[in-house]
Symmetry: C2
Subunit: 201 residues, 2 copies
DNA sequence: TCCGCCCGACTGACCGTTCGGTCATTTTGT
DNA sequence: ACAAAATGACCGAACGGTCAGTCGGGCGGA
Protein backbone atom coordinates (compact mmCIF):
# COMPACT_ATOMS: atom_id res chain seq x y z
CA UNK A 1 0.00 0.00 0.00
CA UNK A 2 2.54 2.61 1.02
CA UNK A 3 4.63 1.76 -1.97
CA UNK A 4 1.90 2.08 -4.54
CA UNK A 5 0.75 5.30 -2.97
CA UNK A 6 4.22 6.71 -3.08
CA UNK A 7 4.49 6.16 -6.80
CA UNK A 8 1.09 7.70 -7.35
CA UNK A 9 2.08 10.69 -5.28
CA UNK A 10 5.24 11.15 -7.28
CA UNK A 11 3.30 10.84 -10.52
CA UNK A 12 0.69 13.34 -9.42
CA UNK A 13 3.37 15.73 -8.26
CA UNK A 14 5.15 15.48 -11.61
CA UNK A 15 1.91 16.00 -13.53
CA UNK A 16 1.05 19.01 -11.41
CA UNK A 17 4.52 20.50 -11.85
CA UNK A 18 4.29 20.11 -15.60
CA UNK A 19 0.82 21.63 -15.73
CA UNK A 20 1.91 24.58 -13.60
CA UNK A 21 4.86 25.10 -15.92
CA UNK A 22 2.49 24.90 -18.88
CA UNK A 23 0.29 27.63 -17.38
CA UNK A 24 3.26 29.92 -16.87
CA UNK A 25 4.49 29.39 -20.41
CA UNK A 26 1.01 29.84 -21.89
CA UNK A 27 0.57 33.03 -19.90
CA UNK A 28 3.90 34.33 -21.17
CA UNK A 29 3.81 33.30 -24.83
CA UNK A 30 0.19 32.53 -25.63
CA UNK A 31 -1.42 29.22 -26.34
CA UNK A 32 -0.16 28.60 -29.85
CA UNK A 33 3.40 29.68 -29.16
CA UNK A 34 3.77 27.48 -26.10
CA UNK A 35 5.89 24.64 -27.43
CA UNK A 36 6.51 21.33 -25.74
CA UNK A 37 10.15 22.31 -25.43
CA UNK A 38 9.23 25.56 -23.70
CA UNK A 39 7.05 23.75 -21.19
CA UNK A 40 9.64 21.07 -20.53
CA UNK A 41 12.33 23.71 -19.99
CA UNK A 42 10.06 25.65 -17.65
CA UNK A 43 9.35 22.48 -15.70
CA UNK A 44 13.06 21.62 -15.58
CA UNK A 45 12.67 18.26 -17.28
CA UNK A 46 13.53 16.82 -20.67
CA UNK A 47 11.01 16.86 -23.48
CA UNK A 48 10.85 13.09 -23.55
CA UNK A 49 9.90 12.92 -19.87
CA UNK A 50 6.86 14.99 -20.58
CA UNK A 51 5.55 12.23 -22.82
CA UNK A 52 5.79 9.80 -19.90
CA UNK A 53 3.01 11.71 -18.18
CA UNK A 54 0.96 13.01 -21.09
CA UNK A 55 0.10 11.20 -24.31
CA UNK A 56 0.54 14.27 -26.50
CA UNK A 57 0.39 18.03 -26.58
CA UNK A 58 -3.38 18.10 -26.83
CA UNK A 59 -3.87 16.01 -23.69
CA UNK A 60 -1.43 18.18 -21.77
CA UNK A 61 -3.17 21.39 -22.75
CA UNK A 62 -6.64 19.99 -22.11
CA UNK A 63 -5.75 18.77 -18.64
CA UNK A 64 -3.99 22.04 -17.92
CA UNK A 65 -7.12 23.97 -18.86
CA UNK A 66 -9.20 21.69 -16.65
CA UNK A 67 -6.85 22.34 -13.76
CA UNK A 68 -7.10 26.07 -14.29
CA UNK A 69 -10.90 26.09 -14.42
CA UNK A 70 -11.11 23.89 -11.35
CA UNK A 71 -9.14 26.38 -9.33
CA UNK A 72 -11.33 29.21 -10.64
CA UNK A 73 -14.54 27.43 -9.65
CA UNK A 74 -13.08 26.62 -6.25
CA UNK A 75 -12.29 30.30 -5.78
CA UNK A 76 -15.82 31.39 -6.73
CA UNK A 77 -17.73 28.70 -4.85
CA UNK A 78 -18.07 30.51 -1.51
CA UNK A 79 -19.69 33.49 -3.22
CA UNK A 80 -22.47 31.63 -4.99
CA UNK A 81 -24.72 30.69 -2.11
CA UNK A 82 -26.18 32.52 0.84
CA UNK A 83 -29.24 34.61 1.44
CA UNK A 84 -27.78 37.95 0.52
CA UNK A 85 -29.59 39.94 -2.15
CA UNK A 86 -28.80 38.89 -5.71
CA UNK A 87 -26.82 42.00 -6.56
CA UNK A 88 -24.60 41.41 -3.56
CA UNK A 89 -23.99 37.75 -4.39
CA UNK A 90 -23.24 38.67 -8.00
CA UNK A 91 -20.85 41.37 -6.84
CA UNK A 92 -18.98 38.89 -4.72
CA UNK A 93 -18.65 36.48 -7.63
CA UNK A 94 -17.36 39.23 -9.91
CA UNK A 95 -14.94 40.53 -7.30
CA UNK A 96 -13.55 37.08 -6.60
CA UNK A 97 -13.15 36.38 -10.29
CA UNK A 98 -11.30 39.63 -10.94
CA UNK A 99 -9.06 39.00 -7.96
CA UNK A 100 -8.41 35.47 -9.13
CA UNK A 101 -7.05 36.72 -12.43
CA UNK A 102 -5.21 39.64 -10.86
CA UNK A 103 -3.34 37.22 -8.65
CA UNK A 104 -2.95 34.47 -11.22
CA UNK A 105 -2.34 36.17 -14.51
CA UNK A 106 -0.76 32.91 -15.56
CA UNK A 107 -4.18 31.28 -15.49
CA UNK A 108 -5.72 33.74 -17.86
CA UNK A 109 -4.45 32.45 -21.15
CA UNK A 110 -4.88 28.93 -19.85
CA UNK A 111 -8.60 29.54 -19.57
CA UNK A 112 -9.83 32.53 -21.53
CA UNK A 113 -7.51 32.23 -24.50
CA UNK A 114 -8.82 28.82 -25.45
CA UNK A 115 -11.50 28.94 -28.12
CA UNK A 116 -14.90 28.32 -26.56
CA UNK A 117 -15.69 25.82 -29.27
CA UNK A 118 -12.82 23.61 -28.11
CA UNK A 119 -13.98 23.88 -24.50
CA UNK A 120 -17.54 22.86 -25.30
CA UNK A 121 -16.39 19.77 -27.12
CA UNK A 122 -14.64 18.25 -24.10
CA UNK A 123 -17.36 16.21 -22.47
CA UNK A 124 -17.46 16.61 -18.70
CA UNK A 125 -14.84 19.36 -18.77
CA UNK A 126 -14.37 21.70 -15.89
CA UNK A 127 -15.41 24.57 -18.15
CA UNK A 128 -18.89 23.05 -18.27
CA UNK A 129 -18.92 23.02 -14.47
CA UNK A 130 -17.99 26.68 -14.43
CA UNK A 131 -20.76 27.53 -16.90
CA UNK A 132 -23.30 25.38 -15.06
CA UNK A 133 -22.49 27.01 -11.75
CA UNK A 134 -23.19 30.44 -13.21
CA UNK A 135 -26.43 29.23 -14.78
CA UNK A 136 -27.58 27.97 -11.38
CA UNK A 137 -26.84 31.36 -9.84
CA UNK A 138 -29.14 33.08 -12.32
CA UNK A 139 -31.80 30.35 -12.26
CA UNK A 140 -32.00 30.61 -8.46
CA UNK A 141 -32.33 34.38 -8.67
CA UNK A 142 -35.16 33.94 -11.16
CA UNK A 143 -36.89 31.48 -8.83
CA UNK A 144 -36.70 34.05 -6.05
CA UNK A 145 -38.09 36.73 -8.34
CA UNK A 146 -34.95 38.78 -8.01
CA UNK A 147 -34.32 39.04 -11.76
CA UNK A 148 -36.31 38.89 -14.96
CA UNK A 149 -37.67 35.49 -15.92
CA UNK A 150 -38.10 36.20 -19.62
CA UNK A 151 -34.50 35.36 -20.51
CA UNK A 152 -33.01 31.89 -20.37
CA UNK A 153 -30.52 31.66 -17.48
CA UNK A 154 -28.17 29.92 -19.91
CA UNK A 155 -28.20 33.06 -22.04
CA UNK A 156 -27.71 35.31 -19.04
CA UNK A 157 -24.76 33.21 -17.90
CA UNK A 158 -23.27 33.45 -21.39
CA UNK A 159 -23.62 37.24 -21.37
CA UNK A 160 -22.02 37.36 -17.92
CA UNK A 161 -19.06 35.30 -19.16
CA UNK A 162 -18.72 37.54 -22.20
CA UNK A 163 -18.62 40.70 -20.09
CA UNK A 164 -16.19 39.22 -17.58
CA UNK A 165 -13.92 37.86 -20.26
CA UNK A 166 -13.67 41.28 -21.87
CA UNK A 167 -13.15 43.06 -18.57
CA UNK A 168 -10.40 40.67 -17.53
CA UNK A 169 -8.60 41.01 -20.85
CA UNK A 170 -8.79 44.79 -20.62
CA UNK A 171 -7.46 44.73 -17.07
CA UNK A 172 -4.52 42.59 -18.10
CA UNK A 173 -3.68 44.84 -21.04
CA UNK A 174 -3.75 48.03 -18.97
CA UNK A 175 -1.93 46.65 -16.01
CA UNK A 176 -0.49 50.09 -15.30
CA UNK A 177 -3.47 52.44 -15.48
CA UNK A 178 -5.83 49.84 -14.19
CA UNK A 179 -9.07 50.75 -12.43
CA UNK A 180 -9.60 49.23 -9.00
CA UNK A 181 -11.23 45.83 -8.75
CA UNK A 182 -14.07 47.36 -6.78
CA UNK A 183 -14.81 49.99 -9.42
CA UNK A 184 -14.80 47.45 -12.23
CA UNK A 185 -17.00 45.15 -10.17
CA UNK A 186 -19.47 47.98 -9.60
CA UNK A 187 -19.51 48.73 -13.33
CA UNK A 188 -20.22 45.15 -14.35
CA UNK A 189 -22.83 44.59 -11.66
CA UNK A 190 -24.67 47.83 -12.22
CA UNK A 191 -24.77 47.42 -16.00
CA UNK A 192 -25.95 43.84 -15.69
CA UNK A 193 -28.54 44.59 -13.02
CA UNK A 194 -29.82 48.04 -14.04
CA UNK A 195 -28.69 48.29 -17.63
CA UNK A 196 -27.45 51.51 -19.14
CA UNK A 197 -30.78 53.30 -19.27
CA UNK A 198 -30.94 56.74 -17.76
CA UNK A 199 -32.10 56.63 -14.13
CA UNK A 200 -34.42 59.56 -14.60
CA UNK A 201 -36.90 57.83 -16.80
CA UNK B 1 -2.25 58.71 -66.62
CA UNK B 2 -4.33 55.89 -68.02
CA UNK B 3 -1.32 53.63 -67.90
CA UNK B 4 -0.44 54.28 -64.31
CA UNK B 5 -4.06 54.06 -63.30
CA UNK B 6 -4.49 50.79 -65.10
CA UNK B 7 -1.61 49.21 -63.25
CA UNK B 8 -2.89 50.50 -59.97
CA UNK B 9 -6.33 49.13 -60.71
CA UNK B 10 -4.91 45.73 -61.54
CA UNK B 11 -2.83 45.78 -58.40
CA UNK B 12 -5.78 46.74 -56.23
CA UNK B 13 -7.90 44.07 -57.83
CA UNK B 14 -5.25 41.41 -57.18
CA UNK B 15 -4.83 42.55 -53.58
CA UNK B 16 -8.57 42.45 -53.04
CA UNK B 17 -8.85 38.99 -54.59
CA UNK B 18 -6.12 37.66 -52.35
CA UNK B 19 -7.66 39.23 -49.26
CA UNK B 20 -11.06 37.78 -50.10
CA UNK B 21 -9.48 34.39 -50.58
CA UNK B 22 -7.72 34.81 -47.24
CA UNK B 23 -11.03 35.54 -45.51
CA UNK B 24 -12.63 32.42 -46.97
CA UNK B 25 -9.72 30.24 -45.92
CA UNK B 26 -9.59 31.77 -42.44
CA UNK B 27 -13.33 31.22 -42.06
CA UNK B 28 -12.93 27.59 -43.11
CA UNK B 29 -9.78 26.58 -41.25
CA UNK B 30 -9.25 29.16 -38.55
CA UNK B 31 -6.59 31.82 -38.32
CA UNK B 32 -3.61 29.68 -37.35
CA UNK B 33 -4.29 26.89 -39.82
CA UNK B 34 -4.67 29.24 -42.77
CA UNK B 35 -1.38 28.74 -44.58
CA UNK B 36 0.01 30.88 -47.35
CA UNK B 37 -0.34 27.91 -49.70
CA UNK B 38 -4.02 27.54 -48.80
CA UNK B 39 -4.68 31.20 -49.47
CA UNK B 40 -2.76 31.16 -52.75
CA UNK B 41 -4.66 28.06 -53.89
CA UNK B 42 -7.97 29.64 -52.94
CA UNK B 43 -7.05 32.77 -54.88
CA UNK B 44 -5.95 30.69 -57.86
CA UNK B 45 -2.39 32.01 -57.89
CA UNK B 46 1.02 30.67 -57.02
CA UNK B 47 2.49 31.18 -53.60
CA UNK B 48 5.29 33.35 -54.95
CA UNK B 49 2.81 35.70 -56.61
CA UNK B 50 1.30 36.43 -53.25
CA UNK B 51 4.61 37.87 -52.12
CA UNK B 52 4.50 40.33 -54.99
CA UNK B 53 1.54 42.01 -53.34
CA UNK B 54 2.23 41.43 -49.63
CA UNK B 55 5.54 41.60 -47.84
CA UNK B 56 4.83 38.64 -45.56
CA UNK B 57 2.09 36.66 -43.90
CA UNK B 58 1.64 39.18 -41.13
CA UNK B 59 1.01 42.06 -43.52
CA UNK B 60 -1.48 40.00 -45.49
CA UNK B 61 -3.46 39.03 -42.39
CA UNK B 62 -3.36 42.53 -40.95
CA UNK B 63 -4.64 44.12 -44.17
CA UNK B 64 -7.24 41.40 -44.50
CA UNK B 65 -8.50 42.16 -41.01
CA UNK B 66 -8.60 45.86 -41.87
CA UNK B 67 -10.65 45.10 -44.96
CA UNK B 68 -13.06 42.98 -42.94
CA UNK B 69 -13.58 45.67 -40.30
CA UNK B 70 -14.02 48.33 -42.95
CA UNK B 71 -16.87 46.41 -44.50
CA UNK B 72 -18.42 45.88 -41.06
CA UNK B 73 -18.28 49.60 -40.25
CA UNK B 74 -19.74 50.41 -43.67
CA UNK B 75 -22.60 48.03 -42.97
CA UNK B 76 -23.33 49.58 -39.57
CA UNK B 77 -22.91 53.22 -40.57
CA UNK B 78 -26.52 53.90 -41.65
CA UNK B 79 -27.80 52.73 -38.27
CA UNK B 80 -25.69 55.00 -36.12
CA UNK B 81 -27.29 58.36 -36.79
CA UNK B 82 -30.81 59.65 -36.89
CA UNK B 83 -33.25 61.01 -34.36
CA UNK B 84 -34.83 57.72 -33.38
CA UNK B 85 -34.77 56.84 -29.67
CA UNK B 86 -31.54 55.37 -28.45
CA UNK B 87 -32.92 51.86 -27.95
CA UNK B 88 -34.12 51.83 -31.53
CA UNK B 89 -30.81 53.03 -32.93
CA UNK B 90 -28.96 50.47 -30.81
CA UNK B 91 -31.31 47.74 -32.00
CA UNK B 92 -30.61 48.63 -35.60
CA UNK B 93 -26.88 48.48 -35.03
CA UNK B 94 -27.14 45.09 -33.34
CA UNK B 95 -29.44 43.72 -36.01
CA UNK B 96 -27.16 44.87 -38.80
CA UNK B 97 -24.14 43.43 -37.10
CA UNK B 98 -25.77 40.03 -36.58
CA UNK B 99 -26.95 40.01 -40.19
CA UNK B 100 -23.49 40.98 -41.36
CA UNK B 101 -21.98 37.92 -39.72
CA UNK B 102 -24.88 35.64 -40.71
CA UNK B 103 -24.29 36.56 -44.33
CA UNK B 104 -20.51 36.73 -44.17
CA UNK B 105 -19.45 33.96 -41.87
CA UNK B 106 -16.15 34.21 -43.68
CA UNK B 107 -15.56 37.57 -42.05
CA UNK B 108 -16.01 36.28 -38.55
CA UNK B 109 -12.67 34.64 -37.97
CA UNK B 110 -11.02 37.45 -39.89
CA UNK B 111 -12.25 39.90 -37.27
CA UNK B 112 -13.31 38.28 -34.02
CA UNK B 113 -10.76 35.49 -33.92
CA UNK B 114 -7.86 37.88 -33.83
CA UNK B 115 -6.63 38.62 -30.32
CA UNK B 116 -7.73 42.06 -29.22
CA UNK B 117 -4.23 42.83 -28.07
CA UNK B 118 -2.94 42.46 -31.61
CA UNK B 119 -5.69 44.72 -32.92
CA UNK B 120 -4.95 47.49 -30.46
CA UNK B 121 -1.31 47.53 -31.41
CA UNK B 122 -1.92 48.36 -35.06
CA UNK B 123 -1.87 52.12 -35.18
CA UNK B 124 -4.67 53.64 -37.22
CA UNK B 125 -6.32 50.25 -37.81
CA UNK B 126 -9.89 49.93 -38.90
CA UNK B 127 -10.64 48.16 -35.63
CA UNK B 128 -10.00 51.44 -33.86
CA UNK B 129 -12.48 53.11 -36.21
CA UNK B 130 -15.06 50.46 -35.35
CA UNK B 131 -14.48 50.95 -31.63
CA UNK B 132 -14.53 54.75 -31.95
CA UNK B 133 -17.80 54.68 -33.87
CA UNK B 134 -19.44 52.72 -31.08
CA UNK B 135 -18.04 55.07 -28.45
CA UNK B 136 -19.54 58.01 -30.31
CA UNK B 137 -22.94 56.28 -30.35
CA UNK B 138 -22.94 56.00 -26.58
CA UNK B 139 -21.41 59.42 -25.98
CA UNK B 140 -24.15 61.02 -28.08
CA UNK B 141 -26.81 59.15 -26.17
CA UNK B 142 -25.30 60.41 -22.93
CA UNK B 143 -25.32 63.97 -24.25
CA UNK B 144 -29.02 63.60 -25.02
CA UNK B 145 -29.67 62.21 -21.57
CA UNK B 146 -30.90 58.93 -22.99
CA UNK B 147 -28.49 56.78 -21.01
CA UNK B 148 -26.60 56.97 -17.74
CA UNK B 149 -23.69 59.39 -17.66
CA UNK B 150 -21.82 57.77 -14.79
CA UNK B 151 -20.03 55.24 -16.98
CA UNK B 152 -17.36 56.09 -19.51
CA UNK B 153 -18.69 55.61 -23.05
CA UNK B 154 -15.44 53.82 -23.83
CA UNK B 155 -16.32 51.25 -21.19
CA UNK B 156 -19.88 50.92 -22.45
CA UNK B 157 -18.63 50.40 -25.97
CA UNK B 158 -16.24 47.72 -24.71
CA UNK B 159 -19.07 45.92 -22.92
CA UNK B 160 -21.17 46.14 -26.06
CA UNK B 161 -18.38 44.59 -28.12
CA UNK B 162 -17.93 41.84 -25.54
CA UNK B 163 -21.62 40.94 -25.60
CA UNK B 164 -21.81 41.04 -29.39
CA UNK B 165 -18.69 38.99 -29.80
CA UNK B 166 -20.07 36.28 -27.57
CA UNK B 167 -23.48 36.31 -29.19
CA UNK B 168 -21.98 36.05 -32.67
CA UNK B 169 -19.73 33.17 -31.70
CA UNK B 170 -22.65 31.34 -30.13
CA UNK B 171 -24.78 31.89 -33.23
CA UNK B 172 -22.05 30.50 -35.45
CA UNK B 173 -21.58 27.44 -33.27
CA UNK B 174 -25.28 26.62 -33.14
CA UNK B 175 -25.98 27.30 -36.76
CA UNK B 176 -28.74 24.67 -36.72
CA UNK B 177 -30.79 25.45 -33.65
CA UNK B 178 -30.14 29.14 -33.92
CA UNK B 179 -32.50 31.73 -32.49
CA UNK B 180 -33.76 34.37 -34.88
CA UNK B 181 -31.73 37.52 -35.39
CA UNK B 182 -34.63 39.56 -34.08
CA UNK B 183 -34.87 37.57 -30.84
CA UNK B 184 -31.15 37.78 -30.18
CA UNK B 185 -31.20 41.48 -30.95
CA UNK B 186 -34.04 41.97 -28.47
CA UNK B 187 -32.10 40.04 -25.83
CA UNK B 188 -28.94 42.09 -26.22
CA UNK B 189 -30.73 45.42 -26.39
CA UNK B 190 -33.02 44.75 -23.45
CA UNK B 191 -30.22 43.48 -21.22
CA UNK B 192 -28.01 46.41 -22.13
CA UNK B 193 -30.76 49.01 -21.74
CA UNK B 194 -32.80 47.65 -18.83
CA UNK B 195 -30.42 45.17 -17.24
CA UNK B 196 -31.54 41.88 -15.80
CA UNK B 197 -33.30 43.28 -12.74
CA UNK B 198 -36.83 42.15 -12.14
CA UNK B 199 -39.34 44.55 -13.71
CA UNK B 200 -41.63 44.46 -10.71
CA UNK B 201 -39.37 46.30 -8.39
C1' DT C 1 28.15 -4.98 5.26
C1' DC C 2 29.42 -4.40 0.80
C1' DC C 3 29.44 -5.10 -4.09
C1' DG C 4 27.54 -5.52 -8.52
C1' DC C 5 23.55 -6.19 -11.23
C1' DC C 6 19.39 -4.62 -12.94
C1' DC C 7 15.27 -2.04 -13.84
C1' DG C 8 12.88 1.79 -15.07
C1' DA C 9 12.69 6.80 -14.92
C1' DC C 10 14.81 10.10 -17.47
C1' DT C 11 17.32 12.12 -21.30
C1' DG C 12 18.19 14.73 -25.61
C1' DA C 13 19.74 13.80 -30.30
C1' DC C 14 17.20 12.69 -34.04
C1' DC C 15 13.31 12.12 -37.49
C1' DG C 16 9.52 13.32 -40.49
C1' DT C 17 6.62 16.89 -41.52
C1' DT C 18 5.04 21.46 -42.26
C1' DC C 19 5.39 26.11 -43.10
C1' DG C 20 6.98 30.87 -44.48
C1' DG C 21 9.74 32.82 -47.62
C1' DT C 22 13.16 33.02 -51.91
C1' DC C 23 14.62 33.07 -56.59
C1' DA C 24 16.00 31.07 -61.08
C1' DT C 25 13.04 30.03 -64.67
C1' DT C 26 8.98 30.29 -67.55
C1' DT C 27 5.00 32.67 -69.29
C1' DT C 28 2.51 36.65 -70.74
C1' DG C 29 1.48 41.02 -72.73
C1' DT C 30 2.84 44.63 -75.82
C1' DA D 1 12.03 40.72 -78.78
C1' DC D 2 12.01 42.09 -74.29
C1' DA D 3 10.53 43.54 -69.82
C1' DA D 4 7.45 42.55 -66.29
C1' DA D 5 4.66 39.34 -64.03
C1' DA D 6 3.89 34.88 -62.43
C1' DT D 7 5.49 30.43 -61.14
C1' DG D 8 6.62 26.39 -58.10
C1' DA D 9 10.72 23.84 -56.75
C1' DC D 10 13.52 24.62 -53.18
C1' DC D 11 15.52 26.12 -48.61
C1' DG D 12 16.08 26.67 -43.68
C1' DA D 13 13.74 26.87 -39.41
C1' DA D 14 10.75 25.05 -36.10
C1' DC D 15 7.72 21.88 -34.36
C1' DG D 16 5.69 17.44 -32.20
C1' DG D 17 6.91 13.13 -31.30
C1' DT D 18 10.30 8.88 -30.86
C1' DC D 19 13.65 5.87 -29.03
C1' DA D 20 18.26 4.02 -28.15
C1' DG D 21 21.07 5.11 -24.58
C1' DT D 22 22.28 6.88 -19.69
C1' DC D 23 22.20 6.89 -14.91
C1' DG D 24 21.15 6.13 -10.13
C1' DG D 25 18.92 3.74 -6.43
C1' DG D 26 17.41 -0.50 -4.54
C1' DC D 27 17.79 -5.54 -4.16
C1' DG D 28 19.92 -9.97 -3.73
C1' DG D 29 23.91 -12.87 -3.06
C1' DA D 30 28.44 -13.43 -1.07
Amino acid sequence: MSRKTKEEIVEEFRCASIQDAAMRVIARKGLDDATIQDIADEAGIAKGTLYVYFRDREELLAKTADRAFDSLVAELEPAFDGDAPFAERLGNVVLRQLRFYDENRALFQATLAIPQAALHKRRPGSYARYAARLEKLFADAQARGEIRSDIDPVTIAAIYRDCMRGMIIRRIEQKQTRTSRETDTETIVSVLVRGIASGEK
